[in-house]
């Protein structure tokens, strides 16, 4: 009771962006009441959260449990008690960049996550569609309506908590694994595709043949996004090497698809001042099947981002690209609170390996699958690196009456045709939805932004591509960051390298 009253009557602290502009503050309205205002409203709804549903930063930063309660003698003395509840916070979010992300995602379902790869700072993170914090705050029925919207799912933070098939962007992990294990010079003749014995399928590129044909190396394969090469590379690397690298980049790697822990929240990935903050913005753990029991056929698919590598969040993919974008080849723990010292999550690559990989990624934007989309960036004199990805995903048919995925009853029969049972199955569209990815970092010389752009395809069977649809958004965001001064020496805030006191965070065995 005391805490409830306290939280009602005590003002929360204000939340500022990295440049000191208020993102959540109080304002006296016309009727004299003091209202919590959110200038960016829906742009930060998933990060801030509301008093309903799962807590976001608003509740994590200013929970009553985080501070002492005022005592009688303090009231008598007229003493104001300093509590976390009313302490102001600055986030690493850049209001302008966040707004640019919102503008770019308008009309699309998807998510964008932008890190500073040198420090782990989250510069922008947004999931579309979103919802109005103000509306939900004032109207409980609005919340219920949002919660029941199974088609649009506006309450879902797609950046942190939705799985997507990574498609070709996953080749980045394969490339890291190859470099880490001295297999970066592996060559393969892609002519005729790749058909490992016993798997019953020949892997080809998107054109049905090979896009980079002949005896190619990892650079050319990555530049032209060769499914054939990376499928072969996956089988050569083996499950154990892939697993080891996966763990270093924050992925869950399991030797079985039916094990426990898959799909758990991963709060410990954050460099944050409290567990409450970590939990409030905890990503769902992205995972793949990799280990000593991975079969060649499984690795064949995982090599180019299909099969059992289909559970990736945009947040995880942004972390993945951050490794190469980090000058030292480190994965920095993401952080959203300003003023916290950077912490390293793991040392994935050597400095030289990271530099080489950045060079290969640059080839994607200057002669590879991302070239046309990155033309305005190149025209602005900015060199960047990236990776396109297009992935097909089954999508359920939504019943317009209930708003729920449609189900059908399937009759089970024995070989003689006798009915032995029945079960329900979700109905999927015949054609798959194409989701578009683009992983990117800029500038090439000293990256200060590493991002993942994910766009859900507009519908089943509609053409949608990473290079054509997602990469132009990344290009606009790079230009915006440049306009905001991030790429100039003076415009790079908090760009200090990782503190040497940090050490790799031990990962639990999976």
């Amino acid at each position: 009771m005391r805490n409830r009253r306290l939280s009602e009557s005590t003002l929360r602290g204000w939340i500022y962006d990295r440049k000191g502009r208020p993102l959540a503050y109080y304002r006296k309205n016309n009727s004299g009441e003091i209202d919590r205002e959110y200038p960016m409203d829906s742009a930060l709804a998933h990060i801030f959260g509301t008093d309903r549903g799962e807590p976001g930063l608003e509740r994590a930063l200013f929970g009553t449990e985080s501070g002492a309660v005022t005592e009688v003698w303090q009231i008598i003395k007229g003493q104001t008690v300093e509590q976390k509840l009313n302490k102001d916070y600055s986030l690493t979010i850049d209001q302008d960049l966040q707004q640019a992300v919102v503008d770019q995602l308008k009309g699309n379902h998807g998510a964008v996550v932008i890190f500073n790869p040198q420090t782990g700072e989250v510069l922008a993170m947004y999931s579309n569609p979103s919802y109005s914090l103000k509306q939900v705050q004032d109207d409980e029925s609005a919340w219920i309506k949002l919660d029941n919207d199974r088609k649009e799912r506006p309450l879902l933070n797609r950046a942190l908590n939705e799985y997507y098939v990574p498609g070709s962007t996953f080749k980045t992990l394969m490339m890291y694994t190859a470099f880490r294990n001295g297999m970066q010079n592996t060559r393969f003749n892609t002519a005729g595709g790749f058909s490992p014995p016993g798997c019953g399928r020949t892997i080809t590129d998107d054109n049905g043949g090979c896009e980079a044909c002949g005896d190619i190396g990892i650079d050319s394969a990555y530049q032209h996004s060769s499914n054939i090469y990376f499928s072969y590379l996956g089988t050569q690397l083996g499950g154990v090497k892939i697993r080891d690298t996966a763990k270093l980049v924050g992925l869950g790697a399991y030797d079985s698809v039916s094990g426990e822990g898959q799909g758990r929240r991963e709060p410990e990935i954050w460099n944050a001042s409290s567990k409450a903050i970590q939990n409030a913005i905890a990503p769902t753990e992205s995972w793949l099947k990799a280990g000593p029991h991975s079969t060649r056929c499984e690795l064949m698919y995982e090599g180019y981002g299909q099969g059992y590598a289909s559970q990736m969040t945009p947040f995880q993919m942004a972390m993945l690209i951050s490794v190469a974008a980090n000058l030292d080849g480190r994965l920095m723990k993401p952080k959203i609170e300003m003023g916290r010292a950077p912490e390293m999550f793991s040392q994935v690559l050597t400095r030289d390996q990271a530099q080489t990989i950045r060079g290969i990624m640059n080839m994607v934007t200057e002669g590879g699958t991302g070239t046309s989309a990155m033309a305005p960036v190149i025209a602005a004199g900015i060199r960047s690196g990236g990776k396109t990805g297009t992935a097909q995903k089954d999508v359920p048919v939504i019943d317009p009456k209930t708003g729920e995925p449609m189900k059908k009853i399937v009759i089970e029969k024995d070989p003689k045709g006798k009915i032995i049972g029945q079960h329900q199955e979700t109905v999927f569209y015949d054609k798959k939805r194409s989701d578009a990815w683009y992983l990117s970092f800029a500038p090439l010389e000293k990256p200060v932004m590493a991002m993942a752009v994910l766009l859900e395809g507009p519908g089943p069977g509609i053409s949608f591509y990473g290079g054509k649809n997602a990469a132009p958004i990344a290009a606009q965001l790079i230009l915006k960051a440049n306009a905001l001064g991030y790429f100039g020496a003076a415009g790079i805030p908090n760009n200090q390298p990782a503190s040497p006191r940090t050490s790799p965070t031990p990962r639990r065995n999976r």
Binding site: S9, Y26, R27, E33, I34, V72, I75, I76, G78
Partner: protein
């Protein structure tokens, strides 16, 4: 604490001091929340301690009361807590408001504005749409001022009910130290209990929405004749009750009430069938011995270890054997 009047008087004075602090805290907390508590009401409440202390002095000095003061002090302690809680509740506009949500919101807004005025800098205030400089603290007037007047206090049931109670207490004391009055009550106790029906009848007629005169619970006056009559009945039937050890089941006597050998002997005297408690006794002692080696505070048992079963009749052989074989045990129990 020794049962001396001076000690209890000190407790009373300490209670007054704590009450003063409590009233000030409530007043201060109310001002912070934008309403004013009644100073007159607080003064009236605190002045209640004057007749209480006078009463205590009268009972001690003039009536030469030498009994136990704990009951009196405890009653005043409870009265003090009630007084403070009532002051807190009835001063709060939220407690009395029809629209409690709106009243709470008013308090919340006042608290928030106060916090803003004290802690927000000019820049934040301007963003909020407030003047850069907050008003001086001394200019902060409570949103709701108390309208409790001296007239209200003088005519309030909250004033007169405690005064009436104290007078009733004085009268009751004066009567109850009188043997002829006690004898009369004892003789007519059943009639006195029946008098309970009169205030109950009045309560039925006069009460409304669970309240009667002075916003009191309607059955309060019925307690007086009931308790008086019941006390009379108890004293009249004292010997009969004592024979059943005040209605306590015998097995509890052995396990729960095991003070010393005196009690054991007493049990054998008053309980007609003492076989059961005594049968449980060795088991209980065995439990005590196995876990406890420091029973030094039970000295009575040691004093009576040699005469444990001396006065017992049909319990004697069993108890005596026990006493002999466990004499050291009894000693250590003591």
């Amino acid at each position: 604490m020794r049962n001396r009047f001076s000690s209890h008087l000190l407790v009373l004075l300490a209670l007054v001091a704590i009450e003063v602090v409590g009233y000030y805290a409530i007043h201060r907390a109310a001002m912070i929340r934008g309403y004013e508590t009644s100073v007159i009401g607080a003064a009236r409440d605190l002045l209640m301690y004057f007749p209480i202390i006078v009463m205590a002095l009268w009972v001690s000095a003039f009536k030469k009361f030498k009994g136990n003061w704990v009951l009196f002090t405890t009653a005043i302690l409870l009265f003090s807590i009630g007084l403070l809680v009532q002051y807190r509740l009835y001063s709060d506009p939220e407690y009395n408001a029809r629209n409690k949500a709106a009243a709470r919101q008013e308090k919340t807004d006042t608290l928030r504005m106060r916090y803003i005025n004290q802690n927000y800098d000019a820049a934040k205030r301007q963003v909020m749409g407030l003047p850069a400089t907050p008003p001086p603290v001394e200019q902060e007037a409570p949103v709701k001022e108390s309208n409790y007047t001296l007239g209200n206090a003088l005519t309030s049931s909250y004033t007169w009910i405690p005064v009436f109670s104290l007078i009733a207490f004085a009268l009751a004391f004066a009567f109850c130290v009188n043997d002829s009055f006690l004898s009369w009550i004892q003789r007519n106790s059943f009639i006195v209990v029946l008098l309970t029906l009169i205030p109950l009848g009045i309560a039925i007629v006069s009460s409304s929405a669970g309240k009667a005169v002075g916003n009191t619970t309607p059955w309060e006056p019925a307690k007086v004749p009931f308790l008086l009559g019941f006390a009379g009945i108890l004293t009249a039937r004292y010997k009969d009750l004592a024979r059943t050890y005040w209605g306590i089941p015998p097995f509890l006597c052995a396990e729960g009430l095991w003070p010393d050998a005196d009690l054991q002997r007493g049990l054998c005297n008053v309980v007609s069938r003492c076989r059961a408690p005594l049968a449980a006794t060795p088991g209980f002692r065995w439990l005590s011995l196995s876990g406890d080696l420091n029973f030094g505070h039970r000295r009575t048992a040691a004093r009576h270890s040699g005469e444990v079963s001396a006065d017992s009749d049909h319990c004697a052989p069993r108890s005596a054997r026990f006493a002999v074989s466990h004499s050291t045990a009894i000693s250590s129990l003591a």
